[in-house]
């Protein structure tokens, strides 16, 4: 169990998928949800999440842009672990995400939530 002051930020615009992630996360993490880039960056700024799950296709600002914005910061938050959880899965998308500084990349449809959790655990401070 994480201390209650640490948060996971989930950036996901599909309400059903958000709900399903929440179903599993509820017992494990303090979770914040954002549906778009502006919300995501505001929550990121205010709550200093320990990890971000980031979708790529979002209304307005794309996941790539959010990732880039976070990695361009100059404070300690710039190195927050970020896992891309998207249904984009071409080699070019994965390469781009890695180049921009994503720590991991999961194709949503191809992974169970348990798999996502285990990848998160690998990146979260013990």
């Amino acid at each position: 169990m994480l201390p209650t002051t640490t948060f996971i930020l989930v950036v996901e615009d599909d309400p059903v998928l958000k709900n399903l992630l929440g179903h599993t996360f509820a017992s494990k993490y303090q979770t914040l949800y954002a549906s778009n880039g502006t919300e995501a960056l505001e929550l990121f700024e205010a709550n200093k999440p320990a990890l971000v799950l980031l979708d790529l296709i979002l209304p307005g600002m794309s996941g790539f842009e959010i990732l880039e914005t976070i990695r361009k910061r100059t404070d300690a938050q710039k190195d927050t672990p970020i896992i891309i959880v998207s249904n984009l899965g071409q080699d070019s998308d994965k390469e781009k995400a890695k180049a921009l500084g994503a720590n991991d990349y999961l194709v949503k449809a191809e992974n169970s939530i348990e798999e996502i959790v285990s990848r998160m655990e690998a990146l979260l401070p013990k």
């Binding site: 998928l17 399903l20 179903h23 449809a109 939530i113 348990e114």
Partner: protein, 357 residues
């Protein structure tokens, strides 16, 4: 000016000169026999004229040769460049060239133009098709994710035995759908050249052993024995390790699917001049002559699988062979001569010093 006219002109001048020379010679030789009254003196002028005519003939032939040969040579270079590399060397059609050659050059320029247009159209069609598949597959993935995650959550909740079985059926099928969408995306990527390979020096023995190891359990589960004995001194292969491993896994998976219980699947590595061959030998009932022409086709499935469950989607061998040829290698199969079954052979070009076993 047409070529025939040039040749005719040169020929007329040549004949005239020759006749002049004959006339001159005849009169010189017959001089003593000609009665003085009939004698027409050969003047210095006539001799000079004849020499001059000869020179004109010579020059005419040289010009003719060059007029014909130079543009033909240029055309030849352009044809070769286009045929071998698809490169388009701009051709200047010389206005002084014979009209037949000018026509030929113009035809070639037109031909190159239409070939390029057709090719561009082809590329565009295939891009549109591939973009459509990519978009459609991504659109499918989002609702599929919801179905999958919901079913998995349901599977983990309190259920009766009956319900659990039903949910498992639905979950399995959702996984199958996810795999199909993934394969469609792979195919679309492979066909549009977006499939990126990461080449490295690979020890084929180690790679094959890894695959054999992965399939030990599934083979045993179906009552099959999976054997692999490494071969010494196999050269390294330059390939995309993950993709080649995928190809081998696919072949072994097929072999397991088509071999009846009690059978044996043999993996082997051999090498020849600049090629390493990885063989996957099964003891299935073989590929019928009717099917053999089609097994590398998309969505083709032989009707004689032993294991009816998890039949696969008929895309594996198509992708496998595309990966092989993208490596400069090949994927072939042949019926076993000393027993039942089929042997698939993946050949890959070598790219390094031999391994030590």
């Amino acid at each position: 000016m047409p070529l025939w006219l040039l040749f005719t002109l040169a020929f007329i001048v040549l004949i005239a000169t020759t006749l002049g020379a004959i006339w001159y010679t005849t009169f010189t030789l017959l001089y003593p026999l000609i009665p003085p009254s009939a004698y027409v003196p050969v003047t210095e002028g006539a001799t000079l004229l004849d020499a001059f005519m000869l020179l004109v003939v010579l020059i005419l032939f040289v010009i003719l040769g060059r007029l014909t040969a130079l543009p033909l040579r240029r055309l030849n270079r352009a044809v070769n460049a286009f045929a071998s590399r698809g490169e388009r060397i701009p051709i200047v059609i010389p206005s002084f060239a014979p009209s037949e050659i000018r026509t030929l050059m113009r035809s070639f320029v037109d031909l190159v133009g239409s070939v390029e247009t057709a090719h561009k159209k082809d590329v565009e069609t295939s891009r549109v098709k591939s973009d459509f598949i990519t978009t459609a597959a991504h659109q499918l993935r989002t609702p599929l994710t919801g179905v999958r995650w919901a079913l998995e959550a349901l599977e983990n909740s309190e259920l009766t035995e009956d319900q659990r079985g039903l949910v498992k059926n639905a979950t399995d099928k959702s996984h199958e759908l996810v795999a199909i969408v993934g394969t469609l995306l792979d195919i679309s990527a492979i066909e549009s050249g977006k499939y990126k390979y990461t080449f490295e020096q690979v020890d084929v023995n180690a790679l094959t052993a890894e695959v054999a190891n992965d399939f030990d359990a599934p083979a045993a589960e179906r009552g099959l024995v999976l054997v692999f004995t490494p071969t010494a001194a196999v050269p390294f292969v330059r390939c995309d390790r993950e993709r080649v491993k995928w190809v081998l896994s696919n072949l072994v998976d097929n072999a397991i699917r088509y071999t009846p219980s009690g059978g044996r699947i043999t993996l082997g590595v051999t090498y020849g001049a600049e090629r390493v061959f990885i063989t996957v030998r099964d003891m299935g009932i073989g590929i019928s002559a009717k099917d053999s022409a089609n097994i590398f086709e998309r969505f083709f499935r032989a009707g004689n699988a032993v294991a009816k469950e998890n039949e696969g989607n008929g895309l594996g061998l198509y992708i496998a062979r595309t990966i092989a040829t993208d490596h400069g290698g090949d994927l072939r199969f042949s019926a076993n001569t000393d027993g039942p079954g089929t042997t698939f052979t993946l050949s890959l070009p070598t790219g390094g010093p031999a391994t030590t076993v």
